[in-house]
Amino acid sequence: MKEHLAVVDLGYGDAGKGTIVDAICSTSSNIAAVIRFNGGAQAAHNVITEDGRHHTFAQFGSGTLRGVPTHLSRFMIVDPLALASEARSLGNPFHLLTVDADALLATPWHRAANRRREVERGAERHGSCGMGVGETQMYALKHPDAPRVADVLTPTRLTIKLRALADFYDMSDIPIDDVVDAFVAFGEAVRIVGTEHTDRLLAAGPCVFEGAQGVLLDEWRGWHPYTTWSTTTFDNIGELCPSFRRLGVVRTYTTRHGAGPFVTEAPDLDLPEAHNGRDDWQGAFRTGHFDAVAHRYAVEVAGGVDALAVTHLDAPARCPDLKICTAYRTEGEIWDRIEPGPHRDLAYQERLAGKLAKTEPATSHRPVDWKNAISELLGAPVEIESHGPRSSDKRIATLSK
């Protein structure tokens, strides 16, 4: 591989970014690092190697099993507690990890506040993961002195900041000293670096940017308020790196974890999910037909993609009812393009969500060649095909470009 590569999910997440990143790392020997540029510990990227080793990546990059270093950029929400157990299950490969000093820290207070907020929403849940990622983001917007990774190097300052958090949320039952203790230990185990480290990595060799969630969940472009508090498009990468190839990941059917509009949802499709199930915070894992309309919107708001990775190409054969939806019907109106609103116009996104909630598929068909059909509908060549969960189930066309 020569160019930097950005791997972004064009759907609601769960399309298989992790397995694609792993496959790329297993076939290219010169990758300098996998760089995480959004989200936090709520990511769940399942990787199964040829020999059956399975790991669900959350903060470590999905190239870790190939020995590729991970860098958590300043856009990440770093959760030291979740990182500890993930690291342990990987054999503590801290030598492969660097963390930007400027990244925000997710703490037990954020998590507790996130859960409290979701519980209060009752039936109107947003489908949060309950990890406090959005809460961390929200607190940081209001408080410029929110805890950041660099703070773990100065226990006194960290203590003051955590105390402020506890006061703000009015939560006194979380033991501050123990959290300080764990966070300081985190600072001793990981390599904390300045923002210039990203440039060093980019100069050292091609880097893979591994996204979390998907474009349709983007904080500004998703169906507000059923979004993640994170920029899931290529925008953050643009701020870190001047030039890169854009790889969009989709699966042959559309899925959504948690609440929110899902036009092509079809619960009767017989597509059992190996690694995604119901969970207490997000609710059921939802499945439906390939939503070409929404995915085209994702490509458009993401500023286009150079190539596609299509996963689950083995699914259509197993599911004869599976189709591709190319147009919507809303109260009699037929439409096949979701028009993007002005950037950062949440009122527009909310109206869109309202409309989508009343929308059903109008035109659907079942293509003979799924790969080419998706390629044509999204206007980009398919460079990686995935026919199964393991890295050996991937077919990579032309990454050498």
């Binding site: 059956g52 507690l81 500890a84 299950s89 054999g91 993961c129 764990a182």
Partner: protein
Amino acid sequence: MGSGHWSTDVYTAAANYRAATGKSAFDYSDSGARHAHPDLDPNGVFMRESRDSSEHPFSTPIAVLFDVTGSMGNVPRVLQTKLPQLLGLLTRKNYAVDPQIMFGAIGDATCDRAPLQVGQFESDNRMDEHLSRIYLEGGGGGQKHESYELALYFMARHTIIDSMVNRGRRGYLFIIGDEMPYPRVKPREVQAVIGDTIKQPIPIEEILTELQRKYEVFYILPTAAGWGGDAEVLARWRGLLGQNVLELDDLDAVCETIALTVGLGEDAIDLDEGIADLEDLGSAAGSSVGRALAPLQRTSVVRDDQFQITAGPGGNQRL
């Protein structure tokens, strides 16, 4: 969106970071340990449990205990690096529903500091941790005997498995070693290592009979080990376990051997299918596994009646 499933417990996190920055968290032995890790010490343990839960409603207990004495040479280290793949192998091809795996180690109670180490039954990556904490003592008496009978005693009397309690189905116990058991479970050793008081020695045949009510017991003899292929050792174990003694010529194939044995036992596959699955997974272990499992090929291995899962997929897939 994903779901963060990694533990966020503040105390475990702190402990792990410290362990990682300490001498060597990955290999308990290399950190200069001279005793069983507290998590693996059988002394005073009431029960190691393999439980059904809403997430893992049809638990299949699988215990793997390996001999860590000197005669095994490098075998325990290879096992320590290979065995973490076992869960993946079992779940990828659905050889067992909701497998829960326990690792342990066997030494010699007549002369070792850690003659028995036993982890917990785990259904996720936590089992790797137990494996990494096994203390590779490398001792042993050099008289072709190790304290296997003590391990059998522990497994018989100090494990409780819901597969048996709730469904009358036995678990699997694999012992990987290269020597013979002592003929009797000795009260003094049971007292010293496990903490139980028993009045008189228990002949190995007797404890084995007791154990086999709970577990299908296999003995794997790696031919790379010290007494590998030794006729006396083989004859002794064959006398005790019959066809369930497996000779393994390639240690790299240990996970595959265990996984396929379980798959055969669960009636999930026959041997040919299993070997085809291995090829499918890109594993080169097929021929070694085929040779090792040849004795199991002709007869139905473990179960007589097939168990039907009607309540959807097992929770382990959510790993």
